[in-house]
Structures are given as structure tokens and as C-alpha cells.
Assembly symmetry: C2
Homo-oligomer: 209 residues x 2
């Protein structure tokens, strides 16, 4: 066993420290966030920080890093008040990963990666045609995290487009059908293999035996 302390993190070269700290939270869902600006230029970016915020109202959030160079996703959400979250699946993870490249100001990642735009009649932002779980959100709130000047951007789910047979009787998404995948750190992709569905935890229910 090794014990790494603050002084050890600080001694690590930058890339190794970034890798290590990025891995600590474990597996993270890979999602593509689709937006559009006021001149109808679309944008698509992969995020590994999409999280559930609450079920009622239905809220989801993601972490936007500090303004450094470009952050079209954030600017587009602020101006159009909407965005889409699209699950990355096994068939499109390479294209999804490639959206992270810096293509420059006037290029849509849709064009560059070959992923296709899909528009519903509910919100302006583009969905990813190839994604099997398409979630449409309106901008709800942004929260500044002072510790490192990142922003938690929160949206309200207003639309969900899926195949009907992805839903179990209990309204769980069947990941064996959506093929949704996870990412560790920034670059290592994983698919999920179900271990078990456990019952609701109760003090008198002994599931350990």
C-alpha cells in the first residue's frame, strides 16, 4: 500500500497529477452536449461531468471549466437558454471523443466528426441523431464554485427521446439496449456489464447472505 499526500500530489508532473485526480471519482458517464448559437451555428462537446441533480423537478447538471480559451457550450446555453444531453454509445465513442479537439471558432463539431444533427419541435438545440438517449433541457441555474472558478450549469429536463423498448416496467433505462458507455479520466472508455439489481435497502432486510 502507498499513501500519497498533498506534498506528493504537488511534486507530480502536471499531466500525471491531472490523470490521477481525474480518475479518483471512478467511472463517469460519457455524454455529448449539443448547443446552437444565435446565428444557428451548432456546437457539440463531450463531457464526463454530467450528473443527476434531482428528480422533482427533473434536473441535471455539468461542470463547466473556467473561461480560458473557448467555451461555446456555455456561451450558447446562456444565449439560447437550452441544450441537449446525448448518451455516448459504443458505436460513436470515437466521434464523441474527437469533439474535444480544438477545431477553431467557425467550425461545428458535427461537421468535423460526422455525427448528425437532429432537431425536435420543442427546443432549438441540436440532438445527436446517432445517440440512442436524447435529453432536451432548458437552462435553469448556474452556480459558481469559488474554489476553482468552475461553474455548475443546471438544466431542467423538458424532453426525452428514446426507443420505447429501452424502458423497463419500472421505468429504468436498459443499458444493454442503450449501449451507453462510461469514461475514466479523459480518454479511457468502458462499457458496462450488469452485476445485479438489488432491492431497496431496509434495516431488516438482510441482503448480505
Amino acid at each position: 500500500m502507498i499513501q500519497l499526500l498533498t506534498s506528493d500530489f504537488e511534486k507530480l508532473e502536471k499531466q500525471k497529477r491531472t490523470n490521477l485526480i481525474n480518475c479518483l471519482s471512478g467511472l463517469r458517464a460519457a455524454n455529448l452536449i449539443g448547443t446552437i448559437n444565435n446565428t444557428r451555428k451548432s456546437n457539440l462537446a463531450i463531457f464526463n461531468s454530467v450528473n443527476h441533480i434531482g428528480a422533482n423537478p427533473p434536473l441535471m447538471g455539468f461542470i463547466q471549466r473556467p473561461a480560458s480559451v473557448e467555451r461555446h457550450t456555455y456561451e450558447n446555453i446562456k444565449s439560447t437558454r437550452c441544450f441537449t444531453i446525448n448518451h455516448v454509445n459504443e458505436n460513436i465513442y470515437k466521434q464523441a471523443h474527437q469533439t474535444a479537439a480544438r477545431f477553431g471558432e467557425n467550425v461545428s463539431e458535427f461537421e468535423k466528426t460526422g455525427l448528425n444533427e437532429f432537431y425536435s419541435n420543442i427546443i432549438k438545440a441540436p440532438y445527436v441523431t446517432e445517440s440512442l438517449v436524447k435529453i432536451g433541457l432548458t437552462f435553469e441555474e448556474e452556480v459558481l464554485i469559488k474554489s476553482n472558478n468552475t461553474i455548475l450549469v443546471i438544466g431542467r429536463v423538458v424532453e426525452l427521446i428514446i426507443n420505447e423498448d429501452f424502458l423497463t416496467e419500472e421505468y429504468l433505462l436498459d443499458l444493454s439496449k442503450t449501449k451507453s458507455i462510461a469514461v475514466q479520466g479523459l480518454e479511457t472508455y468502458y462499457k458496462a456489464e450488469k452485476i445485479a439489481k438489488l432491492p431497496y435497502a431496509k434495516p431488516d432486510l438482510n441482503i448480505l447472505t
Copy 2:
């Protein structure tokens, strides 16, 4: 394909809506958060909302639901200013799940689930002996999410206890060794199977062929 809208979510019975919305963000890492109160009573709770906040400084966060009945984790963190995050692995996911049961005021989930406490010389909060990735944090910041009165609790990583051979040359955690698992919604557990590690995304690097 089906299109579910706000009015459809509202029509769903509560448990189905909770299930559905909880699934939308995809796979989430399963983590145990360990804390202790000022009378040295330990607490352990499973969370599926642990997220990476930033690498420098090394920050991680989790979502604390609104004060309803008990929230020992939050109260302990506020009074002792520290907590631990412990990856759930394939060998302990049933015990980890069982920490979600409401055992009452004066009971430690360690005792009730058979997981063991481990203390380092750096922070007061207990680690889970059986977890193979033990992360110690000091309380850094809490951010109120007004939309639903949840709190994003943020800690700074001050200690990491792992086996040395879990780290790759690039300082990525090898999940095939840590056996860290993910949860979908609240009750379905998944293990991860590696698909690929992709190179850093660059505009001129064509990884799609």
C-alpha cells in the same frame, strides 16, 4: 421512438418518475462516504453523485439532498471538516448498498453492514478497510443549488491510499485491479469492461478510420 415531455413526466407515478430521471445521466460511480461526529460515532453512506471538480487544486464533490430526516454525512463533515471517499468494488457492493437503509440515530453503518473502519494518521474520518481506493478529503466549500435546495459539498483531496500497482505509468488508476463499480439509478450495479484508451483529441488526428 417515443417523445416524453414535461407533461408526461408529471403524469408518471412518483417511483417511475424517480427511476427514469435518475437513469438519465447514465452510469455513475458508486462510492462510500465515511465520516465521524464529535463524539467519535462513525457514519458510512453510499453516494452515486461523487464527481470530479478539478485537478489543481484536487477537488471532488457530491450532492447532498435537502434536509428531510437524517443527513449525518453532511452534519459530520460540517463539524469535523473532513470525510473519506471509498470506491465500492465487486466484493462489497451488497454491504455498500445496505448502508442506505435507515438504521436510526445511534447506529453506525459500519457495524450493521460488517464493513470495517480504518483510520490513517492524516484525517479523523474513517476509511473503509475493504475498499481498494481510499481518498481522504478536507471540507472546502458548499454550494447551494437553489432550484431544488440540494447542496454541492466540495472537498480537497489530502490523502490517497492505494496499492502501488494500481497506477499505470501515466498515473491512471487501473480499474481492472481496483474493481471499482458503477450504479445506474439507485439499485442496479455494473462492472466496467474496457473498450479502448484513445489518444488526446486533436483536429488533425483522424481516429475515426
